[in-house]
Structures are given as C-alpha cells and as structure tokens.
C-alpha cells in the first residue's frame, strides 16, 4: 500500500518513459558536442562566426521585443480600457497574426516586395507576427485589475492618469514582461523568417552548416548555445509569471474596469492606429497572397500535388499528435493529481521541447538516426517523433488542465461503488477529461502541420508537405505557385486561433473576473 499523495508506480514508470523521450534530442546533442573534445568545442565556440551569430540573434530579439512592447502595451490599453467602436473586431484582429506562421508572412511580404531582405525585414515580420504575445496577456491583465485600486488611488489624491500609472499599470507589467519573453523565445527559435530574409541568426546558421554537412560539430555547438539562451528566456518567463500568481490576493475583482471615454479626435487616432496595425499584420499578407493566387491560376494549378502535400502534412502530423497525446497522458495525470518533487521533475523534463527550436530537434534526430538507429533515418517515424518532442508541452498542458478539472472525489466515489483502481479511473477521470485531452491533440496536429525546419531536415526523400512545398517554391521565387500552399497553411492555422478566441471570449464573458483562462489559453496553445 502506498502512502496517500504518493503516485502509483505504473504512472511514475510511464512518465519516466515520456521524460526520457522528451529529453533524448537534447541529451544526444550534448553527447555529440562532448564527443568532439574540448579543443574542437573551444575552436567552434571561439570562431568569429559564433560570435556574430550570437550578436545577430540577440540584436534581433532585443529589437523585436522592444517594438512589441512599445506598440503592444498602448494597443492593449486601448483594447482593455478605451471605449471604441467595434471593440470585438479589434480584439480579434489584434490576436489573429498569431495564427500566421512566420515563413508564410515572410513569403507574402517577399512576394509583394521582392527586394525585402536582411535584419530589418526579419525584425518587421517577426514583430508583426509575435506582437499578440504581448497584446493578449497585457489586455487580459489590464481588464482583470480590480477597479477599486484606481478608485482608492483617486481618493488618495491622484489624478486619473497618475492613478492608472501608479496603481493599475504596475500590476499589468508582469503580464507584459512575460509576454515579451515569449516573443523573445519565438524570435530565437524562428527559422522561417530569418531564413527567407537571409539573416544569419542561430537557426539559419545551424541549418546551413547542417546542409553543408562537413561541419556537424560546429552546428551542434551553436545549437547548444541556442538552447541555453532559450532556457534563460523560459526561466525568466516562469519567474515573472510566478510573481503575478503570488499577487492574486482575495477572491479577485468583482467588477470590470470602467472604460475611458476618448475625445473624438483621440478616437479617430486610435482607430487609425489599430487599422494600420491590422493592415501591416493581416492586410498586406492577405492582399499579396490573393494577388499571387489569381496570378498563379494562369498556369494550371496542380491540384493533385496540393492534395498530396495536404494529405502528407496531415498524416505525419496525425502520427506525431497521437504519439504526443499518448506520451503526455501519464505526465499530465501525474502533474494534475500528485504534486510531489519527483512528479515536478518528470513534468519539467517532459517540457524540454519548449526550449528546443525545431532546427535543434531536427539536427539532433538526424544525427541520432544516422548513427544509432539507421533504420529510422529520414522516415515518417523519426519526423513524428520530432513533432511529439516539440509539441509535448502543449499536450501535457491540455491533459493536465483537463484532468485537474475533474474532482478527485468522483474517482474515489467510483472506488467505493465497487470499481477497481483502473476501471474507476477510466470511467470517471479519463472519461470526463477526454474532450480536453482530444482538444489538446487536435491542437498539436494543427501546429505540427505548420512546422518547417524539423520537417525539412527529417522528412523522407520525396515526401512533400504543405510547409516544404511553400518553402521550396519561395526559394526559387515561384511566388504564384506557392500561394495555394500558403493559403492552405493559413486555413490550418486559423482554425485553432478562431476556436480559441471564441472560447476565451465566451469564458471571459461567463466568468467575469476570473481572467486566468482567457489570459493563458491562446498563448500556450496557438503559438509555435
């Protein structure tokens, strides 16, 4: 008999397998690097290319994060606090760019302005695509602050702006900071935009040295540095988010913040600014895409190729998502039901994929399959495994939330009514959390369909997916022919974004005040 609060051995064992799978790419990468010996590592690290790559990546992160904060925070204020016409529309438009993979956005801009290239082009696209990471949580935070805070500040002698700035805004900063760290992580891991604009950031340099294939060690060394930077950002994000969680005292606010009336001049300015942002983030890519699409139809569109690519994307991603859901189940249950130190460690290790850019997982699994498991080299299985590792955090999160919402009393009651432990679990907890787990799986499926770098590196020769087809056509400047693939990808990406915006709006409407769900779901789930 185990002590109360201690997890069943089987659950621990299964979670151990999951953690092992999740950590394999990282561990193998480290082994590869260490194998090369200290001299090789040192020479790779000290090459000027390593330094310039690091500087370029960090510059890109700083510029994009700064732009997202400078534009995103005022936009969040408008969405949360100002009385505006068509408020619902602006909120959806501000969140929507999240659904566009960076390489689709980059392709669309290049197709319209073929001269676009380099650091500032990549910074522009990455800012447009990742700004929702700042806007959404900051808006939610500003909405959730108890209006009594500002009222008290007014009574204590502060004018409206001073009351907002000193009593309310400090409570929204952690949300904005956590969001901007996610932006940083996105920029650091992004492959599509930097590759298409030819910016020598980590991901592109790793990919090109892998393609050149004579210098795998230096690629691996760069990958380790990249993972280290990503881990720092994730750690910082956790810290900041943990602080906000500790700030929640009492039962939360009973009232919504009152909206501010703008002068008509200010209102016009606000609407113009929001419109401008929507044009850059959504309008230009859509216009370019549709124009190229109509152009492309002058040549016959190969529908069979498009259908094959879609089916391939779907098939491989389905495999990956099933694998992810299966692996996530044990860890998700463990994390939701047993908060012990070992469960926390297993959960944290299983989240490795969060810190691993697609390029890194791709690189590691290519080497691993080549050296250790040649039978898996460039197979669908290897690709599905990469998806599972990359998106395991999404799946664990969904499982954990779904299981956590089922009261443990149900399972215990089933036990007292004569069910054995496994049947009781299947008939209550599992049965009730199944919709949530399945939704998580669907999300992994749709996210995996957009994945580019790992797919490029791991796919079997001849297996073309939507992402690789768009990539190869863009590379040879066949913009018209690429358009149908881009459009299909946007459709795939828009489904979860739309579902989640709808769901979180509904949740925030029904549960006035409890803002946790709308603040977090779209971020932890749509992105990537």
């Amino acid at each position: 008999m185990r002590r109360p609060g201690q997890a069943p051995r089987l659950l621990i064992a299964l979670s151990g397998v999951t953690a092992l799978v999740a950590v394999t790419p990282l561990v193998y990468l480290l082994i590869r690097v260490l194998d090369a010996g200290p001299d090789k590592i040192a020479s790779s690290l000290l090459r000027s290319r390593t330094l310039t790559t690091t500087v370029t990546s960090i510059e890109l992160v700083v510029v994009v994060v700064a732009a997202c904060l400078i534009i995103g925070v005022p936009v969040a204020w408008l969405l949360a606090r100002a009385r505006l016409p068509l408020k619902g529309l602006w909120i959806v438009l501000a969140a929507l760019p999240l659904a566009m993979p960076s390489y689709v956005a980059a392709y669309a801009w290049i197709a319209e302005f073929p001269a676009m290239s380099g650091f500032w082009a990549a910074a522009l696209i990455l800012t447009l695509v990742s700004m929702p990471y700042v806007i959404i949580p900051t808006t939610a935070a500003l909405r959730s602050i108890d209006p009594a805070m500002e009222e008290v500040a007014r009574s204590l002698g502060r004018k409206p702006w001073s009351a907002f700035w000193f009593a309310a805004m400090p409570q929204a900063w952690p949300a904005a900071a956590a969001g901007s760290l996610l932006v940083g992580l996105y920029v650091l891991s992004d492959f599509g935009a930097v590759a298409l604009f030819r910016v020598d950031a980590f991901t592109r340099v790793i990919y090109t040295s892998y393609r050149a294939s004579f210098d795998r060690t230096s690629a691996a060394v760069l990958a380790v540095v990249l993972v280290l930077l990503a881990a720092i950002l994730i750690y910082a994000e956790r810290r900041v988010r943990g602080r906000t969680a500790r700030w929640r005292t009492g039962s939360g606010s009973a009232r919504r913040a009152t909206e501010v009336n703008l002068t008509s001049r200010q209102r016009v300015m606000a609407v113009l600014a929001l419109t401008g942002l929507a044009i850059l983030g959504l309008g230009v890519p859509s216009f370019s895409l549709l124009r190229r699409l109509s152009e492309g139809t002058r040549r016959p569109l190969d529908l069979i190729e498009l259908a094959t690519a879609t089916a391939n994307s779907f098939g491989v991603s389905l495999l990956g998502s099933l694998l992810a859901v299966g692996l996530a189940l044990s860890v998700g249950v463990l994390a939701a039901r047993y908060r012990t130190r070992s469960s926390r460690v297993l959960e944290a290790v299983s989240y490795s994929g969060h810190a691993l850019p697609g390029v890194v997982v791709g690189l590691s699994l290519v080497s691993l399959t080549l050296v250790v498991l040649p039978a898996m080299y460039q197979t669908v299985a290897a690709l599905a495994l990469a998806y599972a590792v990359l998106f395991l955090p999404k799946s664990i999160g969904a499982t954990r939330t779904a299981v956590g919402m089922v009261p443990p009393a149900l399972e215990q009651t089933a036990r007292t009514l004569g069910r054995g432990p496994i049947r009781a679990w299947l008939e209550t907890t599992f049965r009730l959390s199944l919709p949530g787990i399945a939704a998580g799986g669907l999300l992994v499926l749709l996210t995996a369909m957009k994945e580019l770098p790992a797919t490029l590196m791991l796919r079997p020769t001849g297996l073309d997916t939507l992402a690789t087809e768009l990539w190869s056509r863009t590379e040879i400047a066949a913009y018209g022919a690429a358009a149908p693939y881009a459009l299909t990808l946007i459709a795939v990406a828009a489904i979860p974004a739309w579902l989640l915006t709808w769901a979180s709006e509904r949740a925030s409407r029904s549960a006035d005040g409890s803002t946790e769900a709308p603040a977090r779901t779209p971020l932890s789930t749509v992105g990537g």
Binding site: A148, A153, R158, T249
Partner: protein, 356 residues
C-alpha cells in the same frame, strides 16, 4: 472634522437610477452606518460620496463645500475622502509602507506619518511586509491606515469586515470603532449586516429602494422601526394580527398588549414584539391569578444558539411565536406552556400580502 450633507440626490449607472431623492445629514465627527440589503443602493451612495460616480441631480456637501451639485464638481482626488474598500484592495505591487505612503506624495515627513498610522492600527514594524503575507484582518488594518494617512475629512468604509471570519470580524470592527471615535473623523460605513451596524455606529441609516427609510440611533432603530419591513430587517420579530382597544392598547392572541402610539394605524394591524420581550411560564406553575394573562400553547421546537435559546410555541389559537431566553433551556419540547408579553409592542398597518 466636517459634516456631510446629501440632499435630493439622484444617482445611478448609465440611464438606470439607483438612488432617488435621497436625503441624509451626517453631523461632524459622527460614525454613521448605512444599512441595506444588496441592491438597495447603499454602495452607490458611497461611490457618489467618494466621487466615483456623478449624481444626475441633487447635491452633496462636505462642510461648506458643494462637492457635487448642479454647478459644481470636485473630483475624488480633491475631496479629502479616505476609502476602505471591500477586501482592502491593497496595491499588490507595493509593500505595506508603499501602500500607506501612496497618498502622502509631496508631503513632508512621510516616513514619520507612515510609522505613526501603522502604530495607530497596531501594525508597527510591518512596513516591509507584502500584502500577500498579511492575514485578512491585517490587510483591512493596512487599508485603514492607508486611508487615514493623509488625514481625510471623511472616511468611507465599504463593507470592510465582510471578508473576515466571525471571531476576527468582531475584534477588528471594535478596534476600528474605538480608533475612529478617538480620532473624531466623520465616518460612513456601508453594510448589509444589521448586527454590525447596530453594534458599532452612533447612528444607523436604513436604505431601501434608493431612499433613506429611517435614520436613528441603534437603540431607537431596534425599538421603534419605521415600518414592518425595517422591523423584520433589524433582528427577529414576532408578528401577530391585532385589534386596537384604545390609544395605547391592542388585543391579540397574547391578550392585551401596550403599544407605542406614534404612527400606529387607527384600527387593526400587525402587532410586533421582539422575541426577548416574551416570557414562558410552565402551565403547572401558572397560578390562578395569572391564568387569565398571556396565551396557552405547546412548545413546538427549541433551537440553542449558545448565548440564548429560541423556543417556538404553537399557541392554541394556531399562531406560532418565538421566545428568546438567555442561556440553555432544558428540553421542554411538547410541554404545555403560557406565553406572556412584557414591555410595549408596536402596531403597523397590515401589509397587502399577509397571512400566506
């Protein structure tokens, strides 16, 4: 110390008025409780006094200054009002010191004043604590210190004790009460808890449907509620149909009872008594001399509350009456008893929907 005056106030949210023609005078230095159920308009009144909402008509004066009226408007930051919101609403990003010093910006000797007010609320030495580290009672004390620090003319308290559990609530509110009376700050407390209002305020104003129904001392309010609904709201009440015998006497199932005459209806109505005004006498012990007094009945149930026991008696005439007796009463359920009324009752007009 200044007096607060509210006259013909109409206020609400958007186009929905919540307060209608509300009039209220709070003498300088007084502790007033505004008592009402949720939706009565008591919180709206508080928000209008603080300046968080603008009245649609009527006026509010603080001392000689019209802070809200047809031609004038003083914003909240210039009203010299302190507010203690529900659950404290402490700034979570600031420590205790930062919270208390928030309203002192630009003033000399901030540190001294913060220490002084924290001392006053019994939290000296806690200035480095973060709000999350405080208990519910401590949070309310910090909220009070924060409100008092800039020496407000008027202090507004919005159900500040409702989030505390029973024992703590009593202690904190009596501490707050004695602190405020020693400072002499004009204070207005909004609450739905009649026991709280009666036990700590100098005067209690009953708000219902956006109007002040009665504004009296706690004792007068309990003894002489303005109407039947107020009588029911302020504590338990025994109600019996009654007929007027003469100016000061009515006849009911309990026999002849003296009443207070003010505002009573000309003839029939509802006699009200407080349960502690009734006395139970065991039937065997009722001598022949007292047999004519009171009403005979049988004990239906008894519920024990610690400080007292409430005994429900079904009178032979069919009515139920509650009798409150201090302390524990041995089980007498089913016994035959006599119920006597002591002291004076009140007669109110019979409400329209009466007698179920």
């Amino acid at each position: 110390m200044i007096a607060v005056g509210v006259s013909a106030l109409e206020a609400g949210y958007g186009s929905i008025p919540v307060l209608f023609d509300l009039n209220l005078q709070v003498p300088s230095g007084l502790f007033l409780a505004v008592l009402g159920t949720s939706g009565s308009g008591k919180t709206t009144l508080l928000r209008a006094l603080a300046g968080f909402i603008r009245p649609t008509s009527g006026s509010i004066t603080f001392g000689d200054t019209v802070v809200a009226g047809p031609a004038s408007w003083v914003p909240p930051e210039s009203r010299r009002v302190g507010i203690v919101p529900q659950e404290g609403a402490l700034f979570p990003h600031l420590d205790v010191y930062g919270n208390v010093a928030f309203g002192l910006r630009g003033q000399p000797r901030i540190e001294e004043r913060v220490a002084e007010v924290l001392e006053l609320v019994g939290l000296a030495g806690r200035s480095k604590s973060r709000p999350q580290e405080l208990s519910g009672g401590q949070m309310q004390r910090v909220a009070l210190a924060r409100a008092l620090a800039p020496r407000p003319d008027v202090l507004l308290l919005d159900e500040p004790f409702s989030a505390l559990d029973a024992g703590l609530r009593q202690r904190v509110r009596h501490e707050v009460r004695s602190l405020l009376s020693s400072l002499g700050t004009t204070s207005i407390l909004v609450t739905h808890d009649q026991e709280e209002a009666l036990s700590i305020a100098d005067r209690v104003a009953i708000v219902r449907h956006g109007q002040i129904i009665q504004n009296d001392t706690p004792a007068r309010l309990y003894e002489a509620p303005a109407d039947l609904e107020t009588a029911r709201f302020i504590g338990a009440v025994v109600e019996l149909p009654a007929t007027r015998v003469d100016d000061a006497t009515v006849m009911s199932a309990l026999g002849l009872t003296e009443i207070e005459v003010v505002g009573a209806p000309a003839r029939d109505g509802v006699l009200t008594l407080r349960p502690e005004q009734l006395v139970i006498v065991d039937e065997q012990r009722v001598g022949s001399a007292t047999r004519a007094e009171g009403a005979a009945g049988r004990v239906h149930a008894a519920s024990y509350h610690g400080h007292d026991t409430v005994i429900t008696v079904t009178l032979d005439t069919g009515e139920h009456v509650d009798v409150r007796i201090p302390g524990l009463v041995p089980s007498i359920t089913g016994d035959r008893v006599h119920v006597l009324a002591t002291g004076r009752g009140r007669l109110y007009p019979t409400p329209r929907a009466y007698g179920q």
